[in-house]
Symmetry: C2
DNA sequence: TCATAATATTTAAACGTATAGTTAAACCGA
DNA sequence: TCGGTTTAACTATACGTTTAAATATTATGA
């Protein structure tokens, strides 16, 4: 009975299952902490299948990185282009990044570990993507400065401020919340900004750079 | 000839040499990327010495973490107490953190990786230290709000903004500088804020939260 | 439509190296 | 000589990678 069926229905493409599992495991454990065996198990395939479909661990990681970090620039550009005023553009920029981090939770740990490792594994294409994002920001800031809306600020620092704040906050909150013994002072602040982190950060950054 | 002498003179305490080497290697490679053998080699001792002096890899890492991240609060408190106005206090707070990161380069990668791993290895004592630091910030902000110098802001977010900005910037600059192919637009900005990053960040944060 | 050949994909098992951790003996200053 | 300290050699296992056989899928020809 029960022909065999069970789980899979249409398999959803083996390679994709592997990539998805790899994304999770690399995000949780980092490159050296992630074991090929575990990725294979979580993907529900044999280890050799993984090698057949994708290749060795390095290749696998490069794929994950590209999948997670790549192709952000186009989306940001589109998001920013929808509005006109520099102030609105910057809001869109920040909001987009905050939302992307929400949608793509693996982003944060992978990025943090890459930075910790001095970007040792970052493929060129990802760096190009980051540069493209930065270029958008520079455009916004330049326009704002020209129109005398913004003061002059170092764009690279502003970018790091935006990204650093969002990523650190996102990762730090769960750690904080896990501490049951915290003094009330700490707990009492910071109520409900989980959902609108992007807006809160945008508010602060805008206030910081507006003339 | 050459009796054997060479380096050591008084050994500088074996355990300390090991800790120093471990700090470097863990910072460079992360927990699973760091190998006990390499730590022993860099410390110039045999692996068994390391086990005799300190213990297994976990113990070693816990020691490093505590050594690197612990005992910051007292210093910050002292630094902040030296000035009076909340604005000056906040400046001192930020400046202290920026300077500490400069003095202690291992701080950044270790902290980033710990956050990426959801603080899995963070010993209680380190979290207590971070809480103590946060408490100082809350004090500064509360005073500033009471004196109507600052607007109301979520302190935890502000802390993450300060730390996130500083750490991300510090780690991102070398990665950026390594890219020889960058478009001039990117390179041209951000001149000389290497040394006074703390001040620059303080300026931005203060502008963001001042009434 | 079916049988069979060719190809693509998956799998269990094995291999070799790297690595965390152990141990017993040598070393060395008091 | 005695105790703390260091050493090289060793063990067991974990892990990335490969192999060859099994199975599934597609193509071909009557």
């Amino acid at each position: 009975m029960i022909k065999k069926v069970i789980d899979v229905k249409n398999p959803g493409k083996t390679a994709e299952k592997i990539l998805a599992a790899a994304r999770m495991v690399f995000a949780e454990k980092g490159y050296s902490g992630a074991h090929v065996d575990e990725i294979a198990v979580r993907a529900g395939v044999n280890k050799a299948t993984l090698y057949y479909q994708i290749g060795d661990k390095d290749t696998l990681y490069a794929n994950v990185i590209h999948q997670v970090l790549g192709n952000t620039a186009q989306n940001i550009a589109a998001s920013v282009a929808k509005v006109d005023h520099p102030e609105e553009k910057l809001k869109a920029y920040i909001k987009y990044i905050a939302d992307a981090v929400d949608t793509n939770p693996e982003w944060t740990p992978i990025m943090m570990r890459e930075m910790a490792a001095d970007g040792a594994h970052l493929p060129r294409v990802v760096i190009e993507d980051i540069v493209a994002v930065l270029t958008i920001l520079i455009g916004i800031l330049d326009e704002g400065i020209k129109k005398r809306i913004f003061i002059e600020v170092p764009p690279f620092l502003i970018h790091m401020m935006i990204v650093g704040t969002i990523l650190f906050y996102k990762k730090a909150v769960p750690i904080k919340d896990r501490q049951s013994w915290l003094p009330a002072e700490i707990k009492v602040h910071d109520r409900n900004l989980k959902s609108n982190l992007g807006e809160e950060v945008a508010k602060l950054v805008l206030k910081a750079i507006k003339r």
